[in-house]
């Protein structure tokens, strides 16, 4: 026996050591969290810094004179005439008018300020308003992407400015006169992909992602939940169900590109489904998401207290009634959370979709499950690999859009859980 005084002393001395240990441990925790937060902040700061300019566009507003002689066009309702007409000339002329120092030799330089698709815009507007013929209209066009880059990034060494000194001087002058303006980039949200960075948008990818997500949700949630309920509530415990369980757990860890290969081999080669379509993308992502949903749903079912189950059984509820009336409502928040996390994972997935051809350059916004489409992360992948610097900011902007979607989905998960959570 140690005498009480001595014992108190020993405890007192050890106390200091114990508290020191605790403080040290807390410090480690704080350091770990700081590192994680720091990395996150750097990531976000970098993306926002690179990408925020992607949400801005540069426009040029011109007074265009619709001169029939210059355009070789008498009647804008005549399709053949329209096809042969020159819509570039009036733009250059009107630009030359506001830049009187430009000479005939500067035509190409002037042309380099206007977006190559501006003539198409002029054509479309004129065809829509044939009575403009012979008048002068004030129309806002997109500037050339080189002007866009110069406008947003002059003085930034990371971007090479392709405009020559003369052009730079003009842009500066036009900017002062309010002809070249910077505004919110609505084009980015209203159009599909394009070779021209100034006209490239994420709408096609957003719609593609939504279509793929719809297929994934509609298939994986019911199948996953049904599988989880069966395995947890009805399946007999034997070697076979153990085998299934092990396999489901393993599937959750299979690299996603394998699912892409499977989709390519089974859905496209074996079943002959079309390539690049959201339907097949959804099927592949369903395969990938199912294990996640099944595992989280089973965990949610397991966490329903047995007392509730017993209470229902004790009154004489049948197995199905116990599951439907009691287990499912209590497990639902967990199931939904798991499913939304699985869906968020699927939303950010690129690799399996590359293999089924959703990586093609697609300009059109898809209109159905069997239209060729791409998805947001693949769009990011495509733009990030583009040699044209103007696409880099588009890629970062698209990442921001993707992150917004992910944050939205996670917020939805939290909201649903809070909403449906019940105490017992």
């Amino acid at each position: 026996m140690i005498d009480p005084k001595q014992q108190a002393d020993i405890i007192h001395r050890s106390l200091k050591r114990r508290y020191r240990k605790e403080r040290r441990f807390r410090l480690y925790g704080i350091i770990a969290i700081s590192i994680a937060l720091g990395a996150l902040v750097i990531l976000f700061a970098d993306i926002i810094n690179k990408g925020h300019s992607g949400f801005l566009k540069t426009t040029i507003t011109l007074d265009v004179e619709m001169d029939s002689e210059r355009m070789y066009l008498e009647d804008p309702t005549n399709r053949d005439e329209v096809r042969m007409a020159d819509f570039v000339e009036p733009l250059i002329v009107s630009l030359a008018d506001i830049l009187p120092e430009a000479t005939e030799d500067d035509r190409n330089a002037l042309r380099g300020l206007i977006n190559p698709y501006a003539s198409n815009q002029l054509r479309d507007e004129l065809v829509a308003n044939p009575d403009w013929m012979g008048t002068t209209q004030t129309i806002t066009f997109l500037a050339h992407s080189d002007v866009d880059v110069y406008n947003k990034h002059k003085g930034n060494d990371a971007y090479s400015i392709k405009l020559n000194d003369q052009q730079q001087q003009w842009v500066d002058e036009l900017q002062e006169r309010g002809i070249v303006e910077t505004s919110f980039n609505d084009v980015f949200f209203t159009s599909g992909d394009s070779r021209d960075p100034a006209r490239a948008g994420v709408l096609g990818a957003i719609v593609g992602s939504l279509l793929v997500m719809f297929i994934t949700l509609v298939l994986s949630f019911p199948i996953g939940v049904a599988a989880a309920i069966y395995l947890e509530e009805f399946a007999p415990r034997n070697k076979f169900t153990d085998f299934i369980e092990v396999n489901i757990n393993n599937l959750a860890a299979v690299p996603s590109i394998i699912f892409g290969l499977l989709g390519l081999a089974v859905f496209i080669n074996l079943f002959g489904m079309p390539r690049s379509v959201p339907f097949v993308g959804g099927l592949v992502l369903t395969l990938m998401t199912l294990p996640t949903i099944i595992i989280s749903s089973r965990a949610a079912i397991k966490s329903v207290p047995p007392s509730i189950r017993e209470a229902a059984e004790g009154i004489g509820a049948s197995k199905m009634q116990v599951v439907l009336h009691h287990v499912l409502p209590l497990a639902m928040p967990g199931m939904l959370t798991g499913s939304i996390i699985g869906m968020a994972q699927a939303l950010g997935e690129t690799a399996p979709l590359l293999l089924i051809g959703m990586v093609a350059f697609i300009v059109e916004v898809p209109e159905g499950f069997f239209d060729a489409a791409t998805v947001l992360p693949v769009q990011v992948f495509l733009w990030a690999g583009s040699p044209e610097l103007a696409f880099i900011e588009r890629a970062s902007a698209a990442i921001m859009v993707l992150l917004t979607f992910l944050l939205g989905m996670n917020a939805l998960a939290i909201w649903l859980r809070k909403r449906l959570e019940r105490r017992w």
């Binding site: 017993e310 209470a311 004790g314 009154i315 004489g316 049948s318 009634q321 009336h325 105490r423 017992w424």
Partner: protein, 299 residues
Amino acid sequence: MNANENIVSEAGRPEEKVMAMKDPIEDAANAQSAPIQEGKTVGKPYVDDPKYKLRNVEVFYGEDRAIKDVSLDIARNQVISFIGPSGCGKSTFLRCLNRMNDSIDICRVKGDILLDDENIYHSKKDVVELRARVGMVFQKPNPFPKSIYDNVAYGPRIHGLANRKSDLDDIVEESLRKAGLWNEAKDRLHSIATGMSGGQQQRLCIARAIAVSPEVVLMDEPCSALDPIATARIEELISELSESYTIIIVTHSMQQAARVSNRTAYFHMGHLVEVNETNKVFTAPEHKLTESYITGRFG
């Protein structure tokens, strides 16, 4: 009378109590070495016209024999308590009476359990129907995370006992009245049941069990999670309910068994050692083990 004197004298001798507390293991070992004859129950296990007739019941958990050759009659509209040390199998035995053990895969039940002369383990017997006739109240209050009304109405709803809303309202009111909860609950019928106190929740569980008008109510230590006041309330309720229901209660409190039950059954390591009128069991136990248990030597 002799045995009765024994208890009094033992309780009156403090040094022996101290001894018993000092070395409970040895004492229990001594007591447990008292002979138990398998399948032999002392006292009066059989009655005329029983509600439950149990013959040679054995329960296995895998290889373990948890209940060993138990034969017993449970009388109609009476309260019977099952007492015994922890792990003696009384809860397991209780759960056989409405086949709650069915959901445990490794559990097997042998022997005959007849409810009104029908074997409830007969392969054609439906377990849902059985549980509508034999209600159960559990150790921990386990109301559904729904409103008070929905808790009570759940049984009648799933069994289709009420066709109209007003019928259901009547059943809910009557059940809550019988469970002595009406006055407390009538103004908050649609608030969530888990917001009530433990005692109220347990009474709600009783109301839920009797809402389907069962013939038998099984109670598995219904007061073990409650304070003395709530316990007294439930015990009062059990006495009232025994007029119209057969009640089987498992309890760890011998005072409770003595207060609420007409008959008492003492279980020991899976054996049914003794069954008799409650006052006989507590005043003049016939078996040495019963005596040791009720005098607090072990358990």
